[in-house]
């Protein structure tokens, strides 16, 4: 039993890391722009496809392919913000419609380009196994955990200690005051989208080799990430991290006691329970008018 628990803890931490990447991007966009980007799942998927493309057709190196697809996603983020979300700035409803529209466009675009069938990308990190006691995991499990921990640390340092990161926090707390001190809000919005999309792309690039690359591969991670930020507390960065890892670990552990098909049920049951008992989330602030 102890080994089974340990195995699921590692699996859960690995999946949780993926959820954390997604959740952080969505929380950044939500915190700065107050809109949920429902297209985040297809950006994750785009990251998977681009990594596949760069890996097989350009570099032959998995790390390099990851870097290129992150950079491409960052660029896509800047373009999406400037071309689609900026003109809709004061219209929250249309921004949500636009992000749902993006899902259709990107998902169908990918099917046009690559076809509807799943792609495989067996990198060496997937083939090589790491033995821990009697258990063995793919190297990719640990690559994912290490890369995500580094990315989260880098993001934390950026937000806390740099001028631009502080300006991002400032803009999310008080947009008008940000303008008054000389911060160009458009630059911050573009930067926010850039970082969030790069994180989603990184998620797809990391998960792609382990599972398959297919048009809906981002859907489940996005739903889990969404649950993570609701459980963690809307807009809270620590909440997104705890929520993401928590969901990953809980859903993995749950397979020890119930059939693994019911994994998602557990996650959404927790979500519903949380909404009933503590709707402002683990780290959220209770707002008057909520109960």
């Amino acid at each position: 039993m102890a080994t089974a628990i340990f195995e699921q803890l590692i699996n859960g931490t690995m999946m949780g890391s993926i959820y954390v990447l997604m959740a952080l991007g969505m929380v950044l966009i939500y915190g700065v722009m107050h809109v949920l980007n429902f297209a985040h799942g297809v950006l994750f998927m785009t990251g998977g496809y681009l990594t596949h493309l760069f890996f097989f057709n350009l570099t032959g190196s998995y790390p390099l392919a990851i870097v290129l697809s992150i950079l491409t996603l960052a660029l896509i983020g800047v373009v999406l913000e400037g071309v689609i979300f900026r003109p809709l700035r004061d219209n929250l409803r249309m921004q949500i419609v636009a992000s749902v529209g993006l899902i259709l466009i990107i998902q169908n675009g990918v099917i046009q380009l690559w076809g509807p069938r799943a792609l495989q990308m067996r990198t060496s990190s997937v083939s090589s196994l790491v033995k821990v006691g009697q258990l063995s995991f793919t190297m990719q499990h640990f690559v994912i955990i290490a890369v995500v921990v580094s990315a989260v640390t880098a993001l934390y340092l950026f937000l806390t200690f740099t001028r631009l990161g502080t300006a991002m926090r400032a803009t999310s707390q008080h947009p008008e005051a940000a303008i008054v001190v000389g911060i160009n809000p458009n630059r911050i919005y573009a930067l926010t989208f850039m970082i969030a999309c790069a994180l989603a792309g990184l998620g797809g690039a990391l998960l792609g080799p382990l599972f398959l690359i297919f048009p809906q591969m981002g859907d489940a991670p996005m739903l889990k990430a969404l649950s993570a930020i609701v459980i963690g507390g809307m807009g809270s960065i620590p909440g997104a991290i705890v929520g993401g890892f928590g969901i990953g670990v809980v859903e993995s552990l749950s397979t020890l006691v119930i059939p693994s098909d019911y994994r998602d049920t557990i996650v959404f049951a927790i979500l519903i329970l949380m909404l009933l008992l503590r709707p402002w989330g683990l780290f959220g602030v209770r707002v008057r008018g909520e109960h």
Partner: protein
């Protein structure tokens, strides 16, 4: 120094500010008074390029600053403190001050300016590591003023700096404004606390329905029977 001519501004639909002329010289405190909804805040927003609809002439030291974006106004020497609290609540006091120097690219200069401003405002220095949200209303006002000083502006515009503050804090805010004026800055205030504001000012404008009705030395306005009747609750 700051010169405004024929300023109009609004939010689409009816013009709220309808042709205002005003001047602020270096070393002078100028106050615009007027009733609720007269358009006082809209004047400042129109000057600072924050009103959706605006026209007119705005110059600072003869430089045309009308088309300058709000977030670049500090680079031409104009600072603005909005009516409602504008500290960043979940940044520390030091981070708030450093954000005041967001436009400075020289890290050492920023450090020096922050240190200088902290010396001017000892409360802020003592509590530098605390969130701005932990400050009282008056202390937040002081932080807002301190934050604008990092960029060493020529003119500071304050929207109702005394609103909601304890009397002692009101004194502190106005005496700080005087200090800044003595240092050669021009101060443009908007106030509902008419008597106190005029006592602290050199000149004043009385605004009604988006237009300047009376303009005079602050002393003269205090004595003016129309002003006391309308704004100071004195019956004739």
């Amino acid at each position: 120094m700051l010169k405004v001519r024929g300023l109009k501004g609004g939010y689409g639909g009816r013009l709220i500010v309808d042709g205002v002329d005003l001047d602020v010289a270096a070393g002078e405190i100028v106050t615009v008074i007027g009733q609720n909804g007269a358009g006082k805040s809209t004047i400042l927003k129109s000057i600072f390029n924050m009103a959706p609809v605006r026209e007119g002439v705005v110059t600072l030291d003869d430089q045309d600053i009308f088309p300058v974006s709000s977030y670049q106004m500090l680079t031409v020497g104009l600072a603005y403190i909005p009516q409602h609290h504008s500290v960043f609540p979940k940044l520390t006091i030091t981070e708030n001050l450093r954000m005041g120097g967001y436009l400075l690219s020289d890290a050492k200069l920023l450090q020096e300016r922050v240190a200088k401003v902290e010396d001017m405002f000892p409360i802020l220095k003592e509590r530098r590591k605390e969130y701005a949200a932990s400050l009282s209303g008056g202390e937040q006002r002081m932080l807002e003023i301190a934050r604008t000083l990092i960029m060493d502006p020529k003119v500071v515009m304050l929207d109702e700096p005394s609103i909601g503050l304890a009397p002692k804090m009101v004194d502190l805010v106005f005496s700080t404004a005087r200090l800044l004026a003595e240092a050669g800055k021009g101060i443009l205030m908007v106030e509902q606390n008419v008597r106190r504001a005029l006592l602290a000012s050199d000149r004043g404008y009385v605004l009604e329905l988006g237009q300047v009705r009376i303009t005079d030395e602050a002393q003269a306005l205090i004595a003016d029977e129309r002003v006391s009747r309308l704004y100071m609750g004195v019956r004739s």
